[in-house]
Symmetry: D2
Subunit: 280 residues, 4 copies
């Protein structure tokens, strides 16, 4: 018997446990694959839909690529996961599509970063193109601190961790997170920095509250989703002087904080979305 | 004055030096950018065509993405560089398109690799999805050696270097390298292992000689190029029992050995190709 | 009130839990310090004796150095922990003292290892100077496998992990572990490889049984302890053709397997030893 | 013929080239060993004296340990190289011997560093225990910057690079470097920060000038040398309100800047020192 849905995980979080429960209640034929323990191969007959929920972006992309090429529809596609998982690729799509984001320079090396430093106005945000939960996202207030960040980053082995996005700092202490599923914008929340951190990530103790979803934000989120090629994505947005600036996108979104603030049952929404596809 | 061509490098090799000389003779307006020293930004008015020649795959992909989104045509596109630069993404495209390649299992973790080990028949090739010049490509003859490879790989920090492609070993000591530029297959060479290494990479002392380019190989190379979305790529191919099996693709191909064996002036071909595009 | 004993840990194992219980029963004034969470400083008035039980060799050495210099007696001393924690430093002490060990070459780089490879007779053991539980200890059967090990090791960032001890392989599938506390040899066990691994480490599933402690082994263990400057150490010994060859020493020994096989209450022995010192 | 002197290097700098020339003029029988290419073994009959000049501290320590145990006198000893090469081990020796140094806390982990942060008064210097040329030595002005440094350091794989010395910042923009050879203090120089860096390391463009060597500084340097067990070492000293505070020690000292400022021929001094030992 072929499954309708395969849930692919590596380190299951609350989100994956809720999804699994919801699948259990759904009447769908589903199977659970942990990509940390299971070898994968092309040519295995896949489920019709694969929900890609690996925490590691790289693992998520690989699972999606393998399942896709064997005929499954993956949520999200390998392409969306790769684009959303890399902030330089994301912003490149944004630029082409005219989606507004904070002014950003790219330095692919320490030397380039030192030159970029002379062109920017502090404070700036320095961050690598990959990584979640605000990891290594640094608020840099002056040239000396920036040199120190560059020096620390140069010792990493990974080329991506040596790469700098140097971005205008958007003050305010909070940002919006919008969840998009298919053609539907599920809702939006404010995330506010807390715990002495200036970053608003929920994983860093950021405080959430439901946000109003005006038409402009709704359309912006749908456009971002379409530009990334996403089917279930989170869009992080700053609001500055009444204007929206998209910060980044998440291709395997966490939604615990979103559920708390909005009371929306996201796993149920996902399973309904999956059923809709299967009915077609 | 806007340039016709931007040559983007990081660590210039012979290939890049020859390209630069050829551009100098071409009458084209061109500029040279070293991505190790130059900050990049969206919105800079780019040259019409950007030749992406960074050694680092990641740097190459970023340069391509940024220039593309600002309106340049890049050779190759970011997408082709990313797909060709990752063997799992490459093989996923191959599988979908029906391009033959050696049987391969994927293990995204040490535990998965240990399970995969029980399913394969030695000898196998174990390799990570990223990397050039045959780096970490290991010929594994028995279970104990495989366990040792897994253990060494688990200590790397990079998720990609912990990921295993476990592939049927194609004996023979040599492979074909085919260069494709646009719609033209430039030629093919045999690369044979030497210097006590079993790998045929030219960077490892592999010996080259010109190879016959039959119709089947020509069509296969063009199909690979099209499936990857490449404009200038190298296709590495095994020949086993008269049958072609594609091994991998290179999205920023070195061509020193190819020029030596075939006497084809590859940089001139590239510049002519560029002129052809500009004329349109 | 000043403590008699400070137990310093980082990631408490069974051994540390047993030690803590035994200290609780001992009537001694003691305190527990977790070096992962507690900043350390010179000039804090230390306990008279510090039991150093950090799993990380480097952390153990630092804790010992700081406490020692503030006036505590540490078990073990920083020096003993550093010497025992590095196989090159250990063997250097052995050579000077005439303690027999398997023939070993040292290569401080990949190039040196490739030259060493031409001088050795396979099979050999290749291992880095640091590390526990047999980690990266590799049984190498031929030149090609050795080249592959060298290549994998060269990509590590740590100089120690790029360093090779290339050692004659002592067949037999088992080794002796002798525990020495002060002037007393507590006992000895055989550790035999199991679980499909060729290494006998208990952490790898090695099977233990009590071993006879003859006079030669007893004297050898005491000599090793004295040469390392150890107060509580484990000595790992091969027996080949009736002759003892010391393999390595552990300066923060695990003793779970030893207790199981010998029924000796090691934590009690340690606490009695500590009381003996305090009485002096 | 047995050599009088073995000069052991890995990546020869100006210092090693000058030493080699001086040995060439000396009439001594000497040999040059590059530890990057030469396997080492115990039992090779060593030269009487081994001058250890490897840039890598770990390689230097290993070379010294192996040569020492085979009977050579090494300059410096493995012990001195190890102690001088690790700032926590150095300061532990200092504390015990009553040598003054800036107030310092040790955090062996990110969590410990976050607790230490609450106890210190900014600005502070944060640095890892190992490393040369001021690498990763960071001037931290506030709590947020410190959190960012901790976060960057936590991603390193090496335990040493995750370890923090958190030190009172000694303002002034310059420090003293004193060279000690045997019982002789060769001289002292001031090193002043330049090139927009706040660190005075010559490798970072620090400017040198000859310094007066008063009796207090001379005695302090000799005491440091004796406490470290050094035979040829550099002692880095701050002067604050007329008081000397020792910062760190180098067990394989560079002396290019020292020669420029003092006109003292250091390689000649070393070779004379070696001759003095050989005559005994």
């Amino acid at each position: 018997m072929m499954a309708d849905v395969e849930l692919i995980v590596d380190v299951p979080r609350l989100e994956e446990k809720l999804l699994l429960e919801e699948l259990g209640r759904s009447g769908l034929r589903f199977k659970l694959t942990n990509a940390k323990y299971t070898p994968l191969a092309w040519g295995e007959r896949p489920a019709e839909i694969a929900l890609i929920r690996a925490v590691s972006m790289q693992r998520a992309a690989y699972c999606a690529a393998i399942r896709e090429s064997s005929g499954a529809r993956t949520i999200n596609s390998a392409e969306a996961i790769i684009i959303a998982g890399d902030k330089i690729l994301t912003l490149s799509r944004f630029w082409k599509a005219g989606i507004p984001f904070p002014e950003t320079m790219i330095a692919l090396n320490g030397e380039a970063a030192e030159r970029a430093e002379k062109m920017v106005k502090f404070p700036v945000i320095d961050k690598p193109p990959i990584g979640s939960w605000g990891r290594l996202v640094t608020l840099v207030r002056d040239s000396q601190s920036f040199k120190s960040v560059i020096e620390h980053r140069e010792l990493y082995q990974s080329q991506a961790l040596k790469t700098h996005l140097i971005q205008r700092y958007i003050d305010g202490g909070r940002d919006l997170r919008v969840l998009v599923l298919g053609e539907e914008v599920l809702g939006a929340i404010w995330r506010s920095a807390a715990n002495g951190d200036w970053r608003s990530n929920v994983a860093r103790g950021g405080v959430v509250e439901v946000a109003e979803l005006d038409e402009e934000l709704r359309e912006l989120a749908l456009k971002v989703s379409s530009v990334i090629g996403g089917e279930f994505i989170a869009v992080d947005v700053f609001k500055e002087d009444g204007r929206y600036l998209v910060n980044e996108v998440n291709g395997v979104p966490e939604f615990k904080g979103f559920m708390e603030a909005t009371k929306i049952n996201v796993p149920r929404k996902i399973v309904e979305h999956v059923k809709g596809i299967l009915r077609r």
